[in-house]
């Protein structure tokens, strides 16, 4: 490294200020393009309907938030989403971690075969109707389980955890084995603590996936609206057309209220976002998938 520094000072290196200036300006514009839509949502959520809202509230009102906070169905949907996300993440990551632990053992027989078994899940599906028929035959349609069980197997996460475990030093486990620890003990008391960064990031990504998912609910819940998660509840609100005869204030404010709903629904993601960025900074998720 030192040599390079010397060479730099010896041959005056041409810096390109114009290039960097243009680059910074363009990147700032791109960054703002990603954030400006949020400004519009906030402005809409605080505005009175039928006014041209750009990025600042017009006809400032709390009516939209008040309507959302008075909406019992909205809160029930929020509760369902929290439940599905929390339980679904725990179940999925637990199953994937245990399977990944076994498959990370180089001398496990049928290791390749089991991997292929999971990869097929990733690349081929029976399709919507066969999936529906299975879930329905098990009596799981119109239950919360229909939003959790079909999403337990996340093969990408399995591969991610597996490659992480394969990279851990073998001595960790061997010394625990000499002490006579059982597999269960090694898995959760020895390996799990050192896999924290990987498991935490997988948890976070699974949680975001489950929080955002609406297809399971759409396919399996049917008309059971009392179980709709937040995503589907908001989607139905967006897709609905108000009754033209009994037009109420809530109908007039439709898109403003939707903006308020959207803001409440992305709050958990915004709270989790700094952690997501931290994992990226550590490079936990990038480039860890390989054959």
């Amino acid at each position: 490294m030192k040599k390079i520094k010397i060479s730099k000072s010896r041959y005056k290196i041409k810096e390109s200020p114009v290039f960097h200036a243009v680059n910074y300006v363009l990147l700032t514009i791109i960054g703002l393009l990603c954030l400006l839509p949020f400004l519009n949502v906030i402005a809409m959520a605080l505005s009175t309907a039928n006014l041209k809202v750009d990025f600042w509230p017009r006809g400032f009102t709390w009516f939209n938030f008040a309507t959302v906070f008075k909406d019992v169905n909205f809160f029930r949907a929020l509760g369902i989403s929290i439940l599905v996300t929390a339980f679904g993440t725990a179940l999925s990551v637990l199953c994937m971690y245990m399977a990944a632990y076994v498959l990370s053992k180089q001398d496990f027989p049928l290791r390749k075969g089991v991997m292929i078994f999971f990869i097929i899940v990733m690349i081929f599906s029976g399709g919507m109707v066969p999936n529906y028929i299975v879930v329905n035959s098990l009596g799981l349609t119109r239950t919360v389980w229909s939003m959790i069980f079909p999403s337990v197997v996340q093969v990408y996460n399995l591969i991610l955890i597996k490659s992480y475990l394969e990279g851990l030093p073998k001595e960790l486990e061997e010394s625990a084995k000499i002490d006579g620890a059982s597999n269960l003990r090694i898995m959760f008391k020895v390996i799990l603590p050192v896999s924290k960064p990987c498991i935490a990031s997988v948890c976070l990504f699974t949680a975001v996936t489950l929080w955002n998912n609406y297809t399971n609910a759409l396919m399996y819940l049917g008309t059971e609206e009392s179980l709709y998660p937040l995503s589907l509840y908001i989607l139905n609100h967006i897709h609905s057309t108000p009754d033209p005869i009994n037009f109420t204030q809530v109908d007039i404010q439709k898109s403003n209220i939707e903006s308020a709903m959207i803001l409440v629904s992305i709050l958990p993601i915004l709270i989790a976002y700094p952690f997501v960025l931290k994992f990226f900074a550590k490079g936990v998720t990038v480039g860890s998938v390989k054959g």
Binding site: F55, V134, F280, V286
Partner: protein, 324 residues
């Protein structure tokens, strides 16, 4: 003699292999229970439905009236569903929509994360780089429901975009309700969500480039743009090609979650894709045609499978990395 020797050797190798396998089983027997939960979920919710593909070869079974097995056995075997699939102009149109949207996404959106990654890597100020990355990754973590909701307002007749158009003397456009705007909007929204996030893989590829290459170029007096063109791009070309191959592998997936949120009766003509059609036909509110829906889904699934396997094969063979 040599043939005999070979046989003995083979026999020995086989025995050795068997012994290894048995000792492997013995040593790892206690591990098997930990595999079971994941495998059971995969079997029930992924493999069991694969048997259901047989529905595609049946007359529409009446699952409403009978239980699964009875409905299935009552329906007669037929290839009609596939005959309809390959001749019905409506279905062919939806297959076309799927391909057009997917190809538009690849052609327009694929190069953009590469450009963004190059721009991000040229930033020397760490804090600025982190802030920009934090901004451009964010949309990836939002659901399609939220993004369509946001853009419904942005593109509304009274929204900011139309305000801008009218203030410049143009006529307002009803973006979300015009068939002609559907595909461009699918591409734009998809770009807004994913360009930033897709740049990660290229940023890390650029980080891995040997910095002495740039130093040599700088001494030769090469301009920044020339360095990017002559060093950065060629150095990350393998990554670019692998990503492109994988992306093409997912050609048949035009994005169900996205299109379903954006679609309305006015845009069905240009916007209905295989995924949304399969849903509407098989699980929608109208009369459900399980047989045809399954057949269309199967057609889509088989082509995807071939494309993904092909993509993975090529990418592994030529570049040593694949999807798995």
């Amino acid at each position: 003699m040599s043939a005999n020797n070979k046989a003995v050797k083979n026999n020995l190798a086989l025995r050795q292999g068997l012994r290894n396998f048995r000792s492997g089983v013995r040593k790892n027997k206690s591990l098997i229970p930990f595999l079971i939960p994941a495998m059971v979920f995969a079997l029930v919710f992924s493999y069991l439905p694969m048997i259901g593909i047989l529905i595609a070869f049946k007359d529409n079974p009446n699952f409403g009236r009978y239980d699964v097995f009875e409905a299935f056995s009552r329906a007669s075997w037929t290839l009609d569903n596939f005959r309809i699939l390959f001749s019905d102009p409506e279905i062919l149109k939806y297959i076309g929509n799927t391909m057009i949207i997917s190809v538009m996404k690849i052609v327009i959106l694929f190069p953009l994360p590469i450009i963004l990654a190059v721009m991000i890597s040229e930033v020397k100020n760490k804090t600025f780089s982190k802030i920009i990355q934090g901004m451009v990754f964010l949309p990836h973590f939002l659901s399609w429901v939220v993004i369509t909701g946001i853009f419904n307002n942005l593109l509304d007749l009274y929204g900011p975009i139309n305000n801008m158009i009218t203030s410049m003397g143009g006529d307002s456009i009803y973006f979300m309700g015009e068939a002609g705007w559907f595909r461009p909007l699918v591409v734009i929204l998809s770009g807004w969500k994913e360009i930033g996030y897709s740049s990660i893989v290229y940023v890390s590829a650029i980080t891995a480039i040997d910095s002495s290459l740039y130093e040599a170029a700088q001494i030769d007096g090469a301009s920044k743009l020339k360095q990017i063109w002559k060093i950065t791009i060629p150095q990350i070309l393998p990554t670019i090609i692998v990503m492109l191959i994988i992306r093409i592998g997912y050609l048949m997936d035009a994005g169900f979650e996205q299109v379903y949120t954006m679609l309305n009766p006015y845009t069905r003509e240009t916007g209905e894709i295989i995924g949304t059609y399969v849903y509407r036909l098989g699980l929608g509110t109208g009369t459900r045609d399980y047989g045809l829906s399954t057949a269309v889904g199967l057609f889509n699934g088989v082509i995807s499978l071939i494309l993904i396997l092909g993509a993975n094969f090529i990418s592994k063979k030529k570049f040593g990395t694949g999807i798995w």
